[in-house]
């Protein structure tokens, strides 16, 4: 099914912005982000969050900080940068338009 690859790619692309959205207002460590995404079903294997976070950091959309934890070794916290906020805002606008447009066409097609 050709659409399968498309859905995977869409999910992968959208996941980056979901992570950015989870970081709005407060920084989190990876484990918290995984918990935040668990209900969405978007993160099929938890380990893939780490390449994603590394990528976000490389692109300057998040930065990181080690913080002591009360019950174990220090944790690396991720925080939204100004660039990250800008990217998220742009995606939100884009996504809203995209969703409306696709929905409109899909609904006009009627039920199968």
């Amino acid at each position: 099914m050709p659409a399968d690859g498309l859905v995977t790619q869409m999910r992968k692309g959208a996941l980056e912005y979901c992570v950015l959205a989870l970081l709005v207002g407060r920084s989190r460590y990876a484990f918290e982000l995984i918990e935040g995404l668990a209900s969405t079903g978007m993160l099929t294997s938890e380990g893939t969050i780490y390449p994603l976070l590394s990528r976000l950091r490389r692109d300057g959309l998040v930065d990181t900080e080690w913080r002591e934890s009360t019950d174990g070794p220090p944790r690396r916290y991720y925080r939204l940068t100004a660039d990250g906020k800008r990217a998220l805002r742009a995606f939100r606008d884009e996504w809203a338009g995209f969703r409306t447009a696709v929905d409109a066409v899909l609904e006009k097609g009627g039920t199968l």
Partner: protein, 310 residues
């Protein structure tokens, strides 16, 4: 309490992950493995009394190392776009050459280019001021009392003066070397670039050295030998001759004591004539030697190529 086979299960998983990530640069691979390792210990913290099955569940949720690696390759692997964007255009060559000739212009051009990272640009910007400062701090440089201090100084100055340009050229070479775009490497061809590098290295050293580093034709060792052997090239020799001539003048001081007797003492701190001659000869020969060396190595590389292919 740890699960009976905790050590075995976890290290096996991490080893498979590391293996699967082998296409990534070591730094990124190490970081990801560390992330996953701390993920596992974080997950274990939530378990009161863990069993082997608990650990296997944690690893199952993390996912197959091959899947994580595939995702990492997609997101972090070498991307075609930045590679194509690593330019070696007129701007980069102009920036490097200007670093030697008109330093501020060179810095400005380097900052305009996208071929270097911010860090490289910063390093290149502070290198010359730092090197000049360091050189000035050396004992005896401000008021040289021995001729050999000046000779050493003369050897070092062109290196210091071109250090920013050399750094940029080396970094550019390394970046292009790291790019998977091997088609861009025309390593076995003696093109205009290579010939210009061989000719200019003895004649106008900084520019020659820069061309040398931008070529694929030599390996890093050859390039180092070509860069360091003739510091300054014949341009440096000319400067040295002028300095030696002024040194030979020496200085005389005349003092008169209370009886009106005038005693004059002269000091010359120029090197003995045979030393001067030897230095000049060596300096004339060295650039020629390294140019010859580069030419021979170039020819060797070209001859070796068909032999390797067959």
């Amino acid at each position: 309490m740890s699960a009976p086979h905790a050590e075995q299960i976890i290290s096996g998983y991490l080893a498979r992950l590391e293996q699967a990530l082998s296409v990534l640069p070591p730094a990124r691979r190490g970081e990801l493995v560390d992330d996953v390792r701390s993920h596992i210990s974080e997950a274990r913290r939530g378990l009161a009394d863990e069993s082997d099955a608990d650990l296997l569940n944690i690893l199952d949720k993390l996912g197959d190392p091959a899947d994580i690696a595939a995702d990492a390759r997609d997101r972090l692997g070498p991307q075609p776009k930045p590679v194509a964007a690593i330019p070696l255009g007129l701007l980069e060559i102009a920036a490097i050459v200007a670093m030697v000739l008109v330093w501020p212009a060179g810095i400005a051009l380097a900052w305009l280019s996208s071929a270097w990272s911010q860090r490289d640009k910063l390093v290149a910007t502070v290198l010359i001021p730092a090197a000049v400062f360091g050189l000035a701090m050396l004992p005896g440089v401000a008021s040289p009392t021995h001729w050999w201090v000046l000779v050493v100084f003369l050897f070092v100055t062109p290196v210091v003066w071109s250090i920013g340009a050399i750094y940029l050229a080396i970094r550019l070479y390394q970046t292009r070397l790291g790019s998977p775009n091997t088609k861009a490497r025309s390593g076995d061809r003696a093109g205009v670039l290579e010939i210009a590098a061989i000719l200019l290295t003895p004649l106008f050293w900084p520019v020659g050295v820069i061309l040398l580093w931008t070529s694929w034709a030599w390996n890093t060792r050859d390039k180092l030998i070509g860069s360091i052997l003739p510091p300054g090239g014949y341009f440096g020799v000319a400067v040295l001759l002028v300095i030696l001539r002024t040194l030979n003048g020496g200085s005389c001081t005349a003092t008169s004591d209370s009886f009106g007797t005038v005693t004059s003492s002269c000091t010359t701190y120029g090197p003995p004539h045979w030393v001067q001659l030897a230095i000049v000869l060596v300096l004339l020969a060295l650039p020629l030697c390294s140019a010859t060396y580069l030419a021979v190595r170039l020819r060797g590389a070209r001859l070796l190529k068909p032999a390797l292919a067959s």
